[in-house]
Symmetry: C2
Subunit: 338 residues, 2 copies
Amino acid sequence: MQTKHLGRQTLCLANPPYILAGGSVVGKKEGEGPLGPGFDYVCEDSYFGEKTWEKAESALLQRCFSIACDKAHLAPSGLQYIFGGDLLNQCTASTFALRDCGVPFFGLYGACSTMAESLSLAAMAVDGGFCDAAAAVSCSHFCSAERQFRFPLEYGGLRTPTAQWTVTGAGAAVLAAQGSGPRVTHVTTGCIVDAGITDAANMGAAMAPAALDTLKAHFEDTGRSPEDYDLIVTGDLGMIGRAALLELAAREDIDLEKNHMDCGLLIFDRNTQDVRAGGSGCGCCASVFCSLLLNGLRAGKWRRLLFAATGALMSTTSSQQGESIPGICHAVAVESEV
Amino acid sequence: MQTKHLGRQTLCLANPPYILAGGSVVGKKEGEGPLGPGFDYVCEDSYFGEKTWEKAESALLQRCFSIACDKAHLAPSGLQYIFGGDLLNQCTASTFALRDCGVPFFGLYGACSTMAESLSLAAMAVDGGFCDAAAAVSCSHFCSAERQFRFPLEYGGLRTPTAQWTVTGAGAAVLAAQGSGPRVTHVTTGCIVDAGITDAANMGAAMAPAALDTLKAHFEDTGRSPEDYDLIVTGDLGMIGRAALLELAAREDIDLEKNHMDCGLLIFDRNTQDVRAGGSGCGCCASVFCSLLLNGLRAGKWRRLLFAATGALMSTTSSQQGESIPGICHAVAVESEV
């Protein structure tokens, strides 16, 4: 059977790849959050044994990729492709993490949407018969992101209530044509959406219109509605972005109130952990997808899930030059076998 | 017929996509070089009518994408995907260029290998039946790259003889399942190769081992040898990197002397244009591929060509932290219909 392009943005995969396994590694703060027990590895040391935070970010992804391969009972040599990226300038966290693994590598940049982008392309590569197995990976680190995008940590700058907290974490998923596990059935690829938001401390607002755009396209293209999913999970809109999405969706008669969750709100307890509007960063929805969501699908807690990751496509330079913040959202539908 | 994975890294496409058209836009210096007459548009103004070099880079890619669509007789709405990226932090040149086009977008980061990476994924998307048409785009700008990676231009820093000159230019190719034009027949995806080079002013040396690795894989996987190609074009090793590649290849009994060229050496005249070891930047091989190479294939000058673009996967931060410079090289084989 041949995979079909539905409507404008969606693929209905004819040979839905199995997600054999997911690996998740996070930092101390994430380990102390509500999802702590579900992560494969929590590292107490923010340096992960390295000398810099950037090297720590690579180390955490390397560890995570290795765990995912182990859980999938595959050596890296059993993978034909890795799709991955991160937030650091020139995506060095992922390239340095994977420089010794000897697997053909497609580097991606989708900001915090990267995990859904990498899952999309890995699923397409497997579905298209281009490979037997491929990995999708992404990561972020609070300290390297703060240094790059905001202020030196030593400065102790106050964060606005709309700001989100970059997750120290990584996720890695192994997809394959044969095996068992939840399957990627649909891929909805996002267009860039610029709603004119310029506040770099309010990414949720900047990304919500992109999330709506992709979710709307997914429902139109597939003829499905929100009720067809046990769970619709965005990552990472946080509190402000989630509220904006729900309101924008309601105006279009899309009711997300019943079954919507956001990875940025799941990973931290906003009452006890000082994270302002919630978690963010490539590693947020990557680590949540590869722990809570995959585990829940495996256990039959959810049967059908829509994973929609959002990214803010800005840089410090673009913001300093007065530009608005374009957003993007990529979505994959994942179904449990159970 | 089903696309096959050959050996470790290569796909032999069962339904080789047509490259309907390529668009190329460059700056003044590139327009004055040996390939000047072949570019679609040469802009005398380094700002492309914008207020900053970063915005100029977006404007040049936007113009280039529009030219490619026009030449392919396709509106952007006729494309199901765009694959693209650039060198700027968080790839803002391409995301800002494409934020209004309304086409599903996969953001890539492969440093100067991005054009071959985007061609690879666009070809796979078309070959796999995921879409009828897709675009592959990339760009760079000398001034935005200097500011980001090296020194303020006003400082007037001297360049070492091994340094390369970032091309101000963009390339955009439109691939489709039906039509006419040169066809992408093989995709060889690179692994990251780190030979331990640490001199950020000698990218050619850092990337040459990656180029060899991918070329060697291509020849092994396909059973072809260099003589099977009318032209093997790397981009952008420059003078130092090309010499290194030829020597490293000779040690492995791969003779590239007869039919190897490098985009970084083609785009400038090193005798009359002060570019040290040659051109570089995502826009170098992107603009050369979409002008000289596509035009030559169309005209029957070459029948079969291997386009192998190399990238240096470093950032200023990784170099400042004493890291070596990993390289990557992606290759696509393109055949003329003539």
